[in-house]
Symmetry: C2
Subunit: 327 residues, 2 copies
């Protein structure tokens, strides 16, 4: 047996880069593939790798892969980025980014700091959870946080529950009504934030049942999800379902954005222009953290945004004369 | 040996669909994957499958595939679309799209016509060719039409030629100067349409040589590209190169856009909003035919636009009450 030496990528304190990518989901790793092509000295720093891919088990909507384990797709993205020559450093949580002259100081929660001439922020957005027993256990295998992504995987199932009252929940209920025998739409109020048209459409579907003024208190099952416990006006009930779609919103890391001075939209996502530029020259954003295509968050959209952010950051560095022939 | 029956998808004259996707490149096939998820009755009609993927041999920048034959990636996209239940009909060249009430009539050059409640136009854009001997023979294997896409595949080569005088040519020369020993930038004038900053940057690079007032007259080689013949002020010369990057612009199918009544930008690409909507309600556009991310045309950006166009078309059909529970 040969001795294997750990090749965990190291990060020197105070190390300097052309570009730092913050975030290791599809947007950040795709950005890495592209910045490598532009021959930028770059690194991905991230808490962990995979982003939203860690929230599900199967992916069947990333074009080119008819069906693939989410963890395997994460590995392929990571290998592609690392194979292109970009280090991926995990366990690095960015808490602040300060512009100092032409440079950005990127500070981690662990007290580390690195420097970059440009930054791509691809930190994603956390899906809100119900916080009930059974939820974590079945996350990604019976409990989903994206109806459009995971809905078709439930084709032919008996029944599912969708939880929430916004556009995403109503869209989820409508879409799922085409795939499964019965959809329970569970909402804690009897009025909806969703567009009235979506509410009407869902109501018009025979196999969508509205369970209003009700909250999920537990997700039940053994190997698989079997039912949800619901508390409503008439007390507690158990609904037999094969899956639960939690569509109660997302939480972008607004505190980091505020501290960095990034402009956000009314829901807290970083405002970006066509080329993924933010209000701070030299900071670009990509993926679920941004205002682009809110309400339609896919692996392929995140990856595209990452590639565009990389191209834009490269253009920025070229135009500023911070890389290349003029150094 | 068993008898195999051809299962070439048929298209009935006058057949009606929820959605018709025009174009079989990455944008159109990705749109197909998504419209299938939304349970729309849909079809892809296209001259041929692959789009810009047919113009190159290798792809190493579609995130998730470190390196793959372009033809294989085309097959994977097509299988994904067809496996999702969408027919892909080739040999169908769309020459006009007419809105008739709530419906679109889609007319082919062969005199066929089909109907749709919504349309996704993903017809791409043709790269301009030099039109010189040797060009077709080496297309995709020594002659490239996208420096950003193919440049890194030339890592370590001795020399390449870049032809053109716009941003794409200058960007190509700059990028390639990091990969190869020497870059000849061949331009038919001595002034440039490109941003002055890019021209300056290219000039500042020791290994970029400007060959001005010159045109390529032939691409030479046996199994591989070996040289280009160039005619300039001092007569004809032969430059030894391992590759030729033709960056002399693109031609979107403006005639189809004009006939359909689609608004275009100043370069002839279909103007789209954030959700890939055009000026005609019910017609969405995606990929290289659009105004989005002009100057950065990648497989992943086309695929993302296709997915967004599919989502938007689905929303449009839902909101119009043209599909689902209210029919």
């Amino acid at each position: 047996m040969s001795l294997r030496i750990s090749r965990k990528p190291k990060l020197e304190k105070g190390e300097r880069f052309d570009l730092v990518i913050v975030g290791g989901g599809p947007a950040g790793l795709s950005a890495a593939v592209y910045v490598a092509r532009f021959l930028l000295k770059s690194v991905v720093v991230t808490i962990d790798v995979g982003g939203q891919l860690n929230w599900t088990e199967w992916i069947d909507d990333y074009p080119g892969f008819s069906k693939i384990k989410a963890s395997e797709l994460t590995s392929k993205f990571r290998e592609h980025a690392e194979g292109s020559g970009v280090r991926v450093v995990t366990g690095f949580e960015v808490v602040d980014i300060k512009k100092e002259g032409e440079e950005f100081r990127i500070i981690s929660s662990g007290g580390n700091e690195i420097f970059a001439k440009a930054v791509i922020l691809a930190v994603g957005s956390r899906r809100r959870k119900l916080g009930v027993p059974g939820e974590d256990r079945f996350q990604g295998r019976g409990v989903s946080y994206c109806s459009i992504c995971d809905g078709p995987l439930y084709r032919g199932k008996r029944a599912v529950a969708v939880v929430g009252g916004g556009d995403a929940a109503l869209e989820g209920a409508i879409l799922l009504s085409g795939y499964v025998g019965k959809v329970y739409l569970i909402h804690r109020r009897d009025s909806f934030r969703a567009k009235p048209l979506l509410v009407e459409d869902a109501k018009s579907r025979e196999n969508v049942e509205f369970v209003l003024n009700s909250v999920v208190t537990e997700i039940l099952g053994e190997d698989e999800v079997k039912a949800v416990k619901v508390r409503g006006p008439k007390g507690e009930a158990t609904l037999e379902v094969d899956g639960v779609f939690v569509e109660i919103g997302q939480e972008p890391p607004v505190e980091l954005f505020r501290r960095t001075g990034l402009e956000t939209d009314e829901q807290g996502y970083v405002k970006v222009g066509e080329w993924m530029e933010t209000n701070i020259p030299g900071i670009f954003a990509a993926g679920d953290a941004t205002s682009l295509w809110r309400g339609f968050r896919q692996v392929v959209t995140a990856a595209a945004m990452g590639s565009v952010a990389a191209y834009s950051a490269y253009q920025y560095l070229l135009e500023k004369g911070l890389i290349g022939g003029k150094r």
